[in-house]
Symmetry: C2
Subunit: 393 residues, 2 copies
């Protein structure tokens, strides 16, 4: 049977048009965009064309506000460390939330080792940040607020526009990790009112290892990578032009097809949630019922371990995950799931299902059928399940 | 006429085998190497295969000592900032040379803003660092020495092995920027005895925007990119797998063909230097006559501007450069050329010619012919030239 990918948050296959653009870039060969001769000019033109496509996807005031990076992680490190280090004269206090991606958490942990203080605001049971909590957390010495747009484990979308109103009023720089939103949902950096926004190409079917950082004009931030004068002096290093060309095409397609993709995802997600009770019982749906990624479902299945489900359905060529691929292999329970109030055991039983463009309603049924058998098998082996159900009798 | 690339230090076209490997990676599609299912495993296998090829090229003790990065600039920033920040308990003093690439210079300038002190040792008229100067510059609070392997503007190769003996004796971490050496010259990190070594894929005909950092096991360095647990926790972020696969193949070919390439470059370079006086006069050959990159010639042509030559020969589809592409567009004279004792005017008249695999002896003649005409035209317009030659009469 074909491999069924329901783990699109870990990896998306490149769209045919993206593949073709990258293959053509490889075959034709470009010069170094920084060189002054003709080959260099061709490279430079391809680079700026991609920048315009990406800037248009998130509605920048100018393409110059887009800095190409090696992916979401570089963008986040650039933003968080760069703003903190560039503003030490104003203070050394940072505000974030309890459910951020490890790139934000670890960047801030590093800054703490350098004398910074971090206030992390809680989220409610749906994983939403309360903007009032952010307002209260901001101090006179706060130099950065960093809150994610959509959570990569439970899909909850945060009230970014409301938080941006607060940060603008209090004149604090606001960074948003939008790695799992850009290209999936309509994102308008001007409407959101943020100062920096991190994103990556793969969530919208561009290549991995390529991303971008929106830096609103006038924002004070130190570059993470320094040396040459590339990217308007915002990010040194010869560009990954082949990857950037792929990202540009992926951005154009994402913008063009956004509506159709959203309704496809919505249909799949609704079918999944509607059918789920016909296949398994005793589970929790995580995340916010309304403010959520259209392509993600997080379910905590009681009395079993998510990792076992991943491996068992993989034997049937179905790919799902338990959490962020970046954190795979970690034995600790997800900080996101604990933050929304799950018990440790519930967190360990969590599955993350993410739909992609090639998925159909048949795929939903194929997965649910496999899930039913897997859950039955695992619960038959589960002392926790037996104990819970013995005591009921 | 075909475009004649004599600016290989700015950009190398991908070798056919490298192109094929990248195209095949694009077409087949890999999973996320961090994912736990089958697609992820395939990605992980491709990643580790590339790591072995790259580790073998520079003779690492273990492939785990290679961290994949987004290029030479990221590698250098990671090494310089990472070692400095990880060792503040030992001190805040750094040693480097006067002719480093801007990625080293600007990383250190940033660290100076954070309270570090930098000692920069001079070079001789050939651009060589004297190891004794490094030994004298090292203090009790020195935490890093960073010296480049081969200079990207004049080609001079530094006495890395001798310097490494000093740093090991004095127990100071030693980073080497070998971006223009790895894959061009035989590099053996164990024989050199260095702790960190930065390199990039494009100098040996792999893709741009992909590089590596050798970190000897046990070296204390903070990651530049933090978040997920990729690259043995040394560099977070989903990998640019397509680019890394290309780099792996390029590394295999570089190792296999190293000898043949070196003798080709040597032949071209020797022909160029032998013929040059038959075409132009009043020039200086920069760099060391013996310890130099086999594929680079730097010449300072008196009484003219290098930038004008670049643009004029570009009209005849010949690509050369005046300096590092990373610094193109800068109006200041090269710090490297001033450091070896050139006058400002001589520095401005400098051309950097870099040979590549597709170049032939005919190309040398084609360029020299064009150069002769160009120099003649420019000198006819040059007040400096007229003045110098009037006074002679």
């Amino acid at each position: 049977m074909n491999i069924l990918n329901l783990d699109h948050i870990s990896a998306n296959q490149l769209l045919p048009e993206v593949q073709d653009a990258m293959v053509s870039a490889i075959r034709m060969g470009y010069g170094n965009p920084s060189s002054q001769h003709k080959m260099g000019e061709q490279g430079s033109e391809a680079l700026e064309k991609a920048r315009e496509s990406v800037a248009s996807l998130i509605n920048c005031a100018s393409p110059k506000e887009v800095v190409f990076t090696s992916g979401g992680t570089e963008s986040v490190n650039h933003a968080v460390k760069g703003v903190a280090l560039a503003n030490t004269d104003k203070g050394k206090h940072l505000v974030t939330s309890n459910i951020e991606h490890n790139s934000v958490i670890r960047s801030m942990r590093r800054l703490k080792m350098m004398g910074y203080q971090v206030t992390s605001v809680p989220v409610d049971e749906h994983g939403r940040v309360n903007p009032d909590h952010v307002a209260k957390a901001i101090r006179d010495d706060t130099v950065l607020v960093s809150i994610m747009h959509a959570n990569n484990e439970i899909g909850t979308i945060e009230p970014i526009e409301e938080i941006a109103q607060i940060t603008r009023e209090k004149k604090v720089t606001f960074h948003v990790d939008a790695v799992d939103s850009v290209g999936v949902l309509p994102i308008d950096v001007q409407k959101l009112g943020v100062d920096l926004l991190s994103f990556a190409s793969n969530p919208f079917y561009g290549p991995t290892g390529v991303g971008g950082l929106y830096i609103r004009r006038g924002t004070s931030v130190w570059p993470l990578l320094e040396g040459g004068i590339q990217e308007n002096n915002n990010r040194a290093g010869t560009e990954n032009l082949i990857g950037i060309i792929g990202m540009g095409v992926a951005a154009e397609l994402a913008k063009r097809d956004m509506k159709a993709r959203l309704s496809q995802f919505k249909r799949l997600r609704e079918k999944f949630l509607r059918e789920l009770p016909n296949y398994i019982d005793e589970y929790i749906i995580n995340g916010h019922p309304e403010y959520c990624l259209p392509n993600l479902v997080s379910i905590s299945v009681k009395y079993i371990e998510g990792e076992s489900v991943v491996l068992m359905v993989d034997d049937e060529d179905i790919e799902i995950s338990t959490r962020s691929a970046c954190a795979s292999g970690s034995l600790r329970a997800s900080h996101v799931l604990l933050s929304i109030g799950l018990e440790f055991a519930e967190a360990q039983g969590t599955l993350v299902i993410t739909f992609g463009l090639e998925n159909t309603e048949k795929d939903v049924v194929r997965f649910l059928t496999a899930l039913k058998e897997t859950v039955k098998t695992l619960r038959n082996l589960s002392p926790l399940y037996k104990k819970a159900h013995q005591t009921e009798h």
